[in-house]
Symmetry: C2
Subunit: 330 residues, 2 copies
């Protein structure tokens, strides 16, 4: 990675990335071929990998710190959906050849913020200077108790379907990065853009759901698509009431002013909230978790025996669900 | 990943990649957010990540199966250097938008070959269709006994320095992909290109070295650079005799015909052999391992107290080592 002002790959790792491994003995200061990690007794390893590409998953001129934080959070969200606690991260980055020292500093600064916030050190990776767009790939490692399991499979007919936080903010936030949205002032726009750029992985929620939920998924592909994944993996269907979806004030204002935004809320993705299913006798536990975490957990529907996902009240709203890029609707 | 003939991301994963997770229960058929992996009692996790980009680490028109096998082998080589046994792989792939079904089939075929050969199933990952060059990132997970450790650090003054197999083939093979090399017929050229395209991770050797070697590294950056890493991490120096380097017949013929190729052999990298250091009283064990594995293990020098790497006989050969991209030479 020879580059005036940046130095070669070793300089770059030493200057910007090795400090992010501080405190993780097994990262070996990022000087070795691989990291060595102890998985505590009674725990199993959970591993998730995601790639983010400039122009697809973020904009090339997004703030570098936000880009770094997004890839960390997107991957930690995958751990959250399985109830895992983070152990460490491996990052491979293909930087454009004209990347500047200032850009790298801001990128490393964003990484540092979230590595500390989520107690998930950088334990390895690779850097390359390439001709294509900035391309990041992150593997998040976590641990989950060996005697507990939370996956997309396991939903049972009759389970209540819940989501954390609010849905649709990510997709509307992406739209808002390109300009104004109907019904929104600058404050609402900033809120949605922030939700798109810096999602909140629900790690504490995931860990608590290990004892409560039958199945969970994080909302990355879109509400209906991700619920469809749960149904496919569980051999069930689902029925969702569109008027029960928890919307932020900004999303509510937008979709009220422009009902054609509803498909974005149902199909847009990028929320990184958790969707999970819970048997009747655990609904009290859900309320207790919501209170303990100070996080809204809203019941949006029920797991059914019919294949596919039904959305109640969609027709009255004139929604054509087949336009949502959602393959599982029957 | 909507694409005529290829299908979307879910189709692509189901058709080409999910079969590669067969037999790995924790991969959850690649349908979930993350993989769940049991690390056996008494073992620690080892994790390594590398990125390979078309035009930098391989040629865009290399056979797709060879590209797949190379990224698997490069990562497994990192595990080998730490004496780890593979557990599984997470692959993120940014494919060009015009990727064809035939290309993907050949790519997945190459993956399958090596996943089976090295008993290292695909347990997770991500696929994206992008505008840039084919960009692959692989995280290899492995396990090593908790009471043993093999890293770049640990070399002791007086240790013998050994390399497995032959050195310089990778760098000469890369040169040979662009045309003929002096002194070589088509057979020798094919041998070197094959060594460049499909390196051999020395996993069995690494596991045996856990009881024998003080330090190890795989030869990816180049013989002198990687030996320099060992010296830096161990707080030692090294002295290497250039006439003791093990060369393949093809590399020997090339460098004899054109001595200006010597810098490629010392500095070129891409061999993915192991370099390791061994105390005097373990030299017999090295011979026994060589015999057991049917793999040449050659003594090329000695660990010294002086910082830096000395190459004996380099001056008589007119080599200017400062041209080798090697930063550690004093």
């Amino acid at each position: 990675m020879a580059k005036d002002g940046i130095g070669d790959e070793f300089d770059l790792i030493a200057r910007y990335f090795a400090p992010l491994a501080a405190g993780a003995a097994g990262a070996l200061g990022l000087t070795d071929d691989a990291a060595i990690v102890d998985i505590p007794d009674g725990m199993r390893l959970v591993a998730a990998a995601d790639a983010l590409v400039a122009g697809i998953h973020f904009l090339a001129d997004d703030p570098p710190g936000d880009i770094a934080r997004k890839i960390v959070r997107v991957n930690l969200s995958d751990l959250a959906a399985m109830g895992a606690r983070p152990i460490g991260l491996l990052l491979t980055a293909v930087f454009p050849r004209d990347v500047t020292a200032q850009w790298l500093e801001e990128f490393a600064g964003g990484l540092k913020t979230d590595i500390e916030a989520f107690e998930s050190p950088l334990i390895g990776g690779d850097t390359v200077a390439g001709d294509g767009p900035l391309t990041l790939s992150l593997t998040a490692l976590g641990a989950v108790p060996s005697d507990k399991v939370l996956t997309r499979a396991g939903a049972k007919v009759g389970d209540g379907i819940y989501v954390s936080g609010t849905v649709g903010d990510g997709a509307l936030g992406l739209l808002a990065t390109g300009g104004g949205l109907a019904g929104l002032g600058p404050e609402g726009r900033d809120y949605l853009v922030g939700r798109y750029r810096i999602p909140s992985p629900r790690l504490d929620l995931g860990i608590r759901l290990l004892d409560v939920a039958h199945a969970a998924v994080d909302l990355s592909d879109g509400l209906l698509a991700d619920l469809g994944h749960v149904c496919d993996c569980s051999g069930t269907g689902a029925r969702v009431r569109i008027d029960s979806l928890p919307l932020s004030p900004a999303a509510r204002a937008s979709v009220t002013a422009d009902p054609e935004l509803w498909p974005k809320i149902l199909g847009g993705g990028d929320d990184y909230e958790l969707l999970f299913t819970v048997p009747d006798d655990k609904e009290t536990a859900v309320s207790e978790i919501a209170a303990a975490l100070g996080l809204d957990l809203s019941r949006i529907g029920v797991v059914t025996a019919n294949a596919g996902v039904e959305v109640e009240d969609a027709e009255e709203m004139g929604l054509n669900l087949s336009d949502l890029g959602y393959r599982h609707f029957s």
